[in-house]
């Protein structure tokens, strides 16, 4: 049959039109889309009974109440707990990603013992009995040989039942060497001790303040209790309270503030006292408070004719706006305006603690800022700062130290800090490496990752190399666990019965209850139970201090009559607390606020950092809500929120002002070597107008070398590798706000 071209085309079009008008192609497309999606590896989550369990998130010290949605026994979503006083239903991006940590690949599944070299990642799985008996044998030997004090412990915090159980263990064992992750709270404690006469954490009545003068605090980057701060910020916006952010970088806090004042870093104390100068000179300070409830303000002559300069004279003589302007880089008129606004506000409040307050910082800076609050009477008053009562565990019997324990506790701390002080963990590596004093034989690490979080990572690692036995109780294979000899994995927070103590800066005493939302599904053990088993294994005086059957019993006793409220509400808050007034609140020798304690000797010069003039730039680390930089590393969801101007593939970016970049012949995206006196690293350049010229900024939270699984490890640089600690001249704690640096094209 001959078909000519026309017929062929007509037939073809006819077939096509007919098919198109029929259901065939549409049915086929529909079927195609279904059949190409039927692959069995796409999970279909099972439905089931839904429930909500309330608990508290302890991924950071913020202590937000959470509500975990479960379907059967699976965790589906973590949400903020409505009605929790601290976060009132809000939650941060890290808290929201918690389930990725619970079910994630970095969990340690069972106790491990190192085989092969430290850090190689070669482990033998051991049983809990084996782990406990090996450790108790070693510890027992140290007790017998009179070396109980050569055992140290690093805990995530000083507060909370488990941390206090840990320090109790060291005391009963016979070692004064209890360490915790340092922070601005440690410095505030000293400032309150010297000026208020009360050794306590600071409570800030932020919600009632109407003028916030923030010296670099990352109010929206995770300072204090992060979600509480977000809620407070919203309150400030709604009530037209003003926030002045003093910072060298345009952080989120600075951008959201009413005024960003860029300052040369390290000069915050000078600025605070410059403001104080104006308050005093123009008689804008609270005369009632200063005249009647404070001491050390006026100069006086001692019995032997010595002139003791008071706070007023020092500030008036040395901190004029012109002098302070030269040091801080801030215009004198801006300082004067700031001081007047501060004084004229109804409830002014000054805060310090750079970024998230991860570094204890300069004590004289903290005292200068605290003095500012005192000058305007914002101490122990609505909208002000006041010392929070200590919340030590009451329910346990006192530790009956045996002879070995007493001898051990009488030894000096290895870091040279006074006994029962917060300690100076920043001095631990040098104490170990110097060889003077005694060596450390055993180190326990709990809820902490010092090999990552401590400044000058290389020196910290060198110090660890000199500790023959390291035990990690981490839930995750982090840098410190990776470098340990035995790992006794703790339950993750969602599997633990525990208390979350008052978060930093919160102005009410609160305990939140962490419940085991999930039954532990791995071979992990509650750190509290581990400590009890270790103590019982040691027998004698140590075991006597740990009489409980398990941690649950120990916890019930610790919580005492608060337990009922905790179980009912999920938290206990001291709502009856009354602010002691100015008559009775100060517990100094004079009973008054001390403006010029002996420990307060501020100089105008900035806090020194490392590096000479060959390093022409200043490197500052910064924190962001999108990078977890403490014990917890970023879960994958959180890393998704990190912008591509911070991390691109595995390279991280430094922020640099375009002018500075130009004078260094650098453009956006350039690969450079960032070098400091402590180390060097390959980074890329991001031009950022929101940073002072002459500075570079590097985010904290990247550069993990452990936490395998591909989602966070080996991305970017750990800022702590490049920055070394700088000892505060009075507190001995780390006051480094950065380090000098230089850039060279890679």
């Amino acid at each position: 049959m001959k078909i000519d071209r026309r017929s062929f085309l007509s037939l073809g079009v006819g077939v096509a039109a007919g098919t198109a008008l029929s259901p065939l192609p549409w049915k086929l497309t529909d079927d195609l889309s279904i059949w190409t999606q039927n692959w069995p590896w796409t999970p279909v989550p099972e439905i089931g009974e839904s429930s909500f369990v309330n608990s508290v998130c302890t991924l950071c010290p913020g202590g937000c109440g959470i509500s975990v949605r479960k379907v059967e026994d699976r965790g589906i979503k973590i949400e903020g707990m409505k009605g929790h006083p601290v976060n009132q239903g809000g939650i941060c991006a890290l808290g929201l990603s918690g389930l990725q940590l619970l079910y994630g690949p970095t969990r340690i599944k069972t106790p491990l013992k190192r085989v092969g070299k430290r850090g190689d990642g070669q482990w033998a799985k051991i049983s809990w009995d084996e782990a406990i008996s090996e450790i108790t044998e070693k510890l027992d030997g140290l007790r017998i040989s009179g070396n109980s004090h050569t055992v140290a412990g690093i805990a995530g915090s000083r507060h909370g039942t488990v941390s206090q159980l840990f320090s109790r263990f060291l005391m009963a064992f016979g070692s004064p060497n209890f360490f915790h992750t340092p922070s601005i709270a440690d410095t505030y404690q000293l400032a309150l001790q010297y000026m208020n006469g009360v050794s306590a954490a600071p409570g800030f009545d932020l919600e009632n303040a109407d003028f916030i003068l923030s010296f670099g605090c990352g109010l929206l980057e995770g300072w204090g209790a992060p979600v509480r701060m977000f809620k407070a910020n919203t309150g400030w916006k709604k009530n037209r309270a003003r926030v002045i952010q003093i910072e060298s970088r345009l952080s989120c806090t600075a951008a959201k503030s009413d005024r960003w004042i860029a300052i040369i870093p390290g000069t915050e104390a000078a600025l605070a006292l410059g403001v104080a100068h104006v308050l005093i000179k123009e008689m804008l300070y609270n005369k009632d408070f200063v005249d009647n409830y404070a001491q050390g303000f006026e100069s006086f002559v001692t019995d032997n004719g010595e002139i003791k300069k008071g706070f007023k004279q020092t500030v008036l003589e040395e901190y004029s706006p012109e002098t302070v302007a030269r040091v801080t880089g801030i215009d004198p008129s801006a300082i004067i305006l700031l001081a007047r606004e501060f004084a004229n506000a109804k409830a002014p409040l000054a805060l310090c603690g750079k970024g998230q307050g991860k570094v204890p910082g300069s004590l004289s800076e903290a005292m200068s800022v605290h003095a500012l609050n005192a000058l305007v009477g914002s101490v122990n008053r609505k909208g002000g700062v006041f010392p929070m009562p200590a919340m030590e565990v009451q329910g346990w019997a006192e530790v009956g130290m045996d002879t070995i324990a007493s001898a051990g506790m009488n030894q000096p701390r290895i870091d040279g800090a006074p006994p029962n002080s917060p300690g100076c963990i920043n001095q631990l590596p040098s104490a170990i490496l110097s060889g003077k004093g005694y060596p450390l034989n055993v180190l326990f690490v709990l809820e902490s990752n010092p090999l990552y979080t401590m400044a000058d990572s290389k020196t910290v690692k060198d110090a660890f190399d000199k500790i023959p036995f390291v035990v990690s109780l981490s839930s995750f294979m982090d840098e410190t666990a990776q470098y340990a000899d035995i790992v006794m994995p703790n339950h993750i927070y969602l599997e633990r019965l525990e208390d979350a103590p008052t978060p930093m800066g919160y102005n009410k005493s609160i305990i939140s209850l962490s419940k085991p939302v999930f039954k532990p599904r791995l071979n992990t053990k509650h750190a509290g139970d581990t400590l009890i088993l270790l103590a019982k294994g040691l027998g004698g005086g140590v075991a006597e201090a740990f009489p409980w059957k398990n941690f649950e019993a120990c916890f019930e006793q610790a919580m005492g009559d608060k337990m009922k409220t905790l179980k009912k509400n999920g938290f206990w808050v001291d709502s009856d607390a009354v602010l002691p007034d100015w008559e009775s609140t100060f517990k100094t020798a004079s009973g008054k606020f001390q403006f010029a304690p002996a420990e307060f000797s501020p100089g105008v010069a900035p806090v020194k950092i490392e590096g000479d003039s060959t390093f022409q730039l200043l490197l500052i680390p910064y924190e962001t809500m999108r990078l977890s930089c403490g014990y917890i590393a970023n879960p994958p969801f959180l890393t998704k929120t990190v912008e591509d101007t911070i991390l691109k593939q595995n390279d991280c970016f430094i922020e640099i002002n375009p002018k500075t970049a130009q004078s260094n012949q650098l453009t956006e995206g350039d690969v450079v070597v960032l070098q400091t006196p402590r180390g060097q690293a390959r980074v890329r350049v991001h031009l950022e107008e929101g940073i002072m010229p002459g500075m570079v900024a590097l985010p904290r939270g990247l550069g993990h070398t452990a936490h395998g699984g591909g989602y966070i490890a080996n991305k970017g640089i750990n800022a702590n590798r490049l920055i070394g600690p700088v000892q505060d001249p009075v507190s001995g704690m780390d006051a480094a706000w950065g380090i000098r640096a230089k850039l060279s094209k890679a």
Partner: protein, 262 residues
């Protein structure tokens, strides 16, 4: 005012985002990921491929130090109505995998209908649609946390913010069981709204005078993104800063701010 279509009361679910309150914390981004089984990969730095139904953008006023200013802007799917339900993405989908729902005002995305031509992604002016170039991988055991109310997707399928439609369905069912005709304002809230610690996001029925968004959208400082395209979106932004409002559309330097009139 309440809308009626053929005698049935309809809703127009939308959002008002207060950019003065938004701190750029990213909680909304993660809440959405956790609620909606959004996949994650080892390298999420290629933002063209990174799936973020809710994405927070960082805007800048373009000035030099120290006059620089930044603002964060959370951008979910804008659920464009266009004129009478002609969203740009809906207009181009060859498989009717996406449709404008007149009952709720929500633009739906049905994964099993989509065959991945990505025409909708080209049409969307807001880059709110994301393609699964790869099969999602949930490492060993992590698939346990998947929300059974939301289908996990496989490769070859486009996904986007649904204003947590599964929550709407659950709220509707609950209202029905409780004998209620209407869904309460707080019975249906999106995950991002719920999570925002600053309270910057408000969600509700834009047409319902009892819902907060109804009044909030009328603020003089309120604007929508790329309003002059005529997309008639459901997400309103509020900012007291003029440069932020100007960033909401491609204004020429000489142009003043104006709102689209539809």
């Amino acid at each position: 005012m309440k809308q009626e279509h053929g005698g049935v009361v309809t809703q127009k679910y939308g959002m008002v985002v207060d950019l003065d309150l938004c701190t750029g914390c990213g909680s909304c981004m993660v809440a959405c990921m956790a609620e909606n089984n959004v996949p994650f990969r080892e390298d999420e730095t290629d933002k063209l491929k990174s799936i973020t139904w809710m994405r927070v953008y960082k805007l800048t006023n373009g000035k030099h130090y120290p006059e620089t200013d930044i603002c964060y802007l959370p951008r979910p799917c804008q659920h464009c109505e266009g004129s009478h339900g002609h969203s740009p993405c809906v207009s181009v989908c060859p498989a009717t995998a996406t449709d404008y729902d007149n009952q709720t005002g929500i633009v739906s995305q049905i994964y099993t209908r989509c065959f991945g031509c990505r025409y909708c992604m080209g049409a969307c002016p807001y880059h709110a649609r994301y393609f699964n170039w790869y099969d999602p991988i949930w490492p060993e055991g992590m698939e346990r946390y998947l929300n059974p109310n939301v289908s996990p997707r496989m490769r070859g399928v486009v996904e986007k913010c649904s204003f947590c439609f599964h929550r709407y369905q659950a709220a509707k069912d609950k209202a029905h069981l409780d004998g209620q005709k209407e869904i309460d304002e707080d019975a249906y809230q999106t995950a991002c709204t719920q999570a925002c610690p600053a309270g910057a996001i408000t969600f509700g029925d834009l047409d319902n005078p009892n819902h907060a968004v109804h009044e909030l959208k009328k603020q003089p400082d309120a604007f929508r993104l790329l309003e002059r395209l005529g997309t008639n979106t459901k997400v309103y932004y509020v900012s007291s800063r003029e440069w932020v409002r100007r960033a909401g559309d491609n204004y020429l330097k000489s142009e003043g701010l104006k709102k689209a009139v539809l």
